[in-house]
Amino acid sequence: MGVNRRDFLKIAGIAGLFGLSGRAAMDILAPGELEAAEKPVAPPGVKRWAMVVDSRKMDEALMDKCIEACHREHNVPNYGNPKEEIKWVWKEDYHHSFPGQQHAFIEEDLKHKEFLLMCNHCSNPPCCRVCPTQATFQREDGIIMMDMHRCIGCRFCMAACPFGARSFNWGDPWRVTRVEELKKLNPDFPTNRTYPTRSKGVVEKCTFCASRLARGEVPACVEAANEVTEGALIFGDLNDPESGVREALRKHYSIRRKPELGTEPNLYFIV
């Protein structure tokens, strides 16, 4: 499969002797190989999960439904206080979703449009790079997972994430002093008795519903969205050329948040 590191170094070494460099060297010494290496080639059976948000099909009510489905699935309580807020998936307007992309004369629809945001499950995740305990890590299938049994609560990952996708449990939902207050805001908490709640001092975020994927189900938000509008959220395997996400990306113009940072987000937006 293409050029591996060893071969590349060999070619680079030989090229160096002849005073060649970069692309020219590759073209002469291994024609065609570089193009092959640039294309993602995955070992068979390995998945790379990604999501496409078809914003044309999304409206605020539908987004609220996705948010509710997710937060009920994962026992995310409403703290009634933006400072303590925990959000796995949320909505944000165009300007703040894609800072730097806005201008004064932007399409009227887009100006007021809200976008559904969540963890981008970046292929090159800065959060995993900085975590001192590997409590947040990248799975083979690309999902950025949180090990809440291990997290020490240093919040380095929150500083590293350029997308504000991470939330911290500033308090403990079960603390006796607050149970009454929280019960009022969340009368049926915990909403999912098969999923744990959280303790104070750990970071959490969207996991692409890893536990649902393990059962062969799609993420909760995808299920909720597609119940109303088919194809509003498309979830699938980027390594499979026939998958829904690949098809959607092939057919439509799509954007990602802050691609210039090189984190390679796996959340795509059709606008």
Binding site: R139, M145, D147, H149, D172, T194, P196, R198, S199, A210
Partner: protein, 158 residues
Amino acid sequence: MYDGGKIIVGLIACLAFFLSPFIYDAGTAAKAPKPVLTEKAKEAGECVNSTPYMKAWHMHLLDTWRHTVVRNDERYYSPRREARMARLDKNLFDQWRHFVSDGARRYVPKEDKVYYKSLQETCLDCHSNKSKFCDECHNYMGVTPYCWDCHIQPEEKK
């Protein structure tokens, strides 16, 4: 020895201080509680592994479960496979664990059963009487596992 008397008195006072909890509690040892099984647990007749193993190593099992589920996405537990793997264990701690827990090494269930690794969905499904099955013994041992900080306890009938 300078101030020998003072030192000896001091030593005795220290010793008495550090032994005071034992002296205070002497002869009042509480009886070790026996874990109570629910009807469902009795009916099932067996846990995910042998009783001696579960008694001695359930915390280790749960620790392995949470680790392998979250980090490796391995969500099912097969005691047969585990027993087979145990023979291959080269790790000294694991060797000792199998030796101490007796049953673990030899316990190879006849049926090849597979369990979903979940404290909330699997363990507490049978052992829905947490206060009798878990807490009594934990309290007796003076341990407060923080599992319950997050994992939802079953609703028990009073």
